[in-house]
Symmetry: C2
Subunit: 327 residues, 2 copies
């Protein structure tokens, strides 16, 4: 491995000059610049990021905390983050926490030990207390999922409003008996989406029926199936279901199909997130599209600002209702 000293020697200059050439500083005369560039080429020199990082005491890495890589919801966000990261010479470490505090801690350690410059957390189950403490010393941004009172900046959509729009859509196409398939109420987004659901019903003079609200433990496909089973077994069966995630909704679709009923004629279904698969199902799924890529780029930009030491404000982005075959 050639290092900067060897290049300096070969070129007959000092290491400082080589460093200046490497970093594109304009205080080097073109004669020496050429000498140095030739030496670099002839020795095949590649500057060690390890050395540079130590000196600059930065790692140019940031962490993305997600509960599970298998959840397609995060993919577009990650792409957005990555785009900004790469353009600013950062790299991202994708950290699957499994919502497991132990694993979470492995990753938190990375930032404590300066192996990472900052964190974008998308894990709704993250230990918010630890995060808060960490945020005092390190740069942290919350993305999609957040806790207001943590004081940690976040980027998200207006979940209440999005949910309201989804349910309103169902009402407008004639549904009066609308079930809600929600996840665990301990998550903020879950509570907000339920509020939107309620508001839509109230505003249109429909009464709230607790029997029509189902909570699932996770957002996965199987949970959607199970919940749908219960819905189908109801005496007074709803004619529409609003699920707070596409995976839930797809599970629901599958269950309706299996029972011999038809979507949307017998039961309409609306999802949330617009994951890739929501257009591959049969029928395709009406869903709420979050500007996920944008959310990623914004989160990354916020984090970089934070790392630079600047204050950043939280951001709320727009969503969109995508009407497809399931309604």
């Amino acid at each position: 491995m050639t290092n900067i000293q060897q290049v300096a020697k070969q070129a007959g200059v000092s290491v400082a000059t080589v460093s200046r050439v490497m970093n594109g500083q304009n205080t080097v005369s073109s004669k020496t610049r050429i000498k140095v560039e030739e030496a670099i080429k002839s020795l095949n020199y590649e500057p060690s990021i390890l050395g540079r990082n130590l000196r600059n005491s930065e790692s140019r890495i940031f962490l993305i905390l997600i509960p599970s890589i298998s959840n397609p919801f995060y993919l577009e966000i990650i792409k957005g983050i990555e785009y900004i990261a790469l353009s600013q010479n950062y790299n991202i470490l994708l950290c699957e926490t499994d919502s497991n505090p132990e694993k979470e801690n492995i990753y938190f350690d990375l930032v404590r030990k300066k192996m990472a410059d900052g964190i974008i957390s998308m894990d709704p189950a993250v230990n918010i207390e630890t995060l808060k403490v960490l945020a005092e010393k390190y740069s942290i941004i919350q993305c999609s999922e957040y806790s207001t009172d943590s004081g940690i900046p976040y980027v998200t959509i207006n979940n209440e409003e999005a949910s309201y729009r989804a349910v309103k859509h169902l009402i407008q196409i004639g549904h009066k008996k609308i079930a809600l398939m929600n996840s665990d109420g301990k998550f903020l987004y879950s509570r907000q989406r339920e509020e939107g659901y309620q508001r839509a019903l109230e505003e249109h003079g429909l009464s709230l029926n607790d029997d029509y609200i189902f909570y699932t433990k996770h957002l996965g496909f199987e949970h959607g199936q199970q919940a749908m089973k219960k819905i189908l077994a109801l005496q007074d069966r709803p004619t529409a279901v609003f699920a707070v995630s596409d995976l839930l909704a797809i599970g629901a679709l599958k269950e309706v199909n299996a029972s011999g009923l038809h979507v949307p004629n017998d039961i309409a279904v609306v999802g949330f997130d617009k994951i890739d698969f929501s257009s591959m199902t049969n029928p395709t799924l009406t869903t709420i599209a979050q500007p996920m890529y944008k959310m990623g780029t914004v989160a990354a930009e916020m984090l970089i600002e934070k790392i630079k030491g600047n204050e950043v404000d939280s951001v709320i982005l727009d969503h969109e209702l995508v009407i497809r075959e399931s309604t």
Copy 2:
């Protein structure tokens, strides 16, 4: 940020001793060990990985090269890699190449610049020449997709045999007219799977019909739809389709459904990979399961051996046919 000197001072020992305590060496008397540990605790000392990495000239990071994070096929493999990586104190940088040489190069630079200790490549479109050159100086393992003559160790399944088994299954349940939905023939796996398809037909006395072989540009859902459209338009329509990826197969399913035909009664479909979604479709998909998690762990172990400087041999793992509703 406290550093090792401050801890040494606080504990009244030398930095060497603190380092020894940190690294669990047993040449430290228990009295001093306790002193040091107290100092560490009281100062909240966390050793800087930057310093350590430079000194050890390692980054304890390795790269995973995949064409696209959106392809669920890689997820289980990644989990396997991650499991081994974490257990050995490595971290992984997930690198989406988009099969774009420029992006690829950004990541190759990371290893050239010592920001990464090795690479696990899963990109079928990787520039194999560059990879070969790189492999002379750095540690590289090919996973799932590989090139034999590169001399770079790989882990994979027997694609020819797996494909043979899938087609044989279709023949055994009575199909005689079986289409192959293949990807671009420039990929090794693609050629191997086609060979398996041919062998199964030949062995059962079925003639090879070129009109039944369709090539798609990518492995995505839409490409499966398009190919299926062509298949459905054939005069002498096949009764079964073997697709070399689940996403293709799911696209095919959707298209058959849309055309009013029934799977598997009118047309049976077999996929490849057993991605999560293959059990969520309607009907569920018969597919070839690769031991993806295992493939990941093996690849990671191989890479770590390679980084240690040991020679490693290539590995071929077993696959499995999962029969579900689509056949």
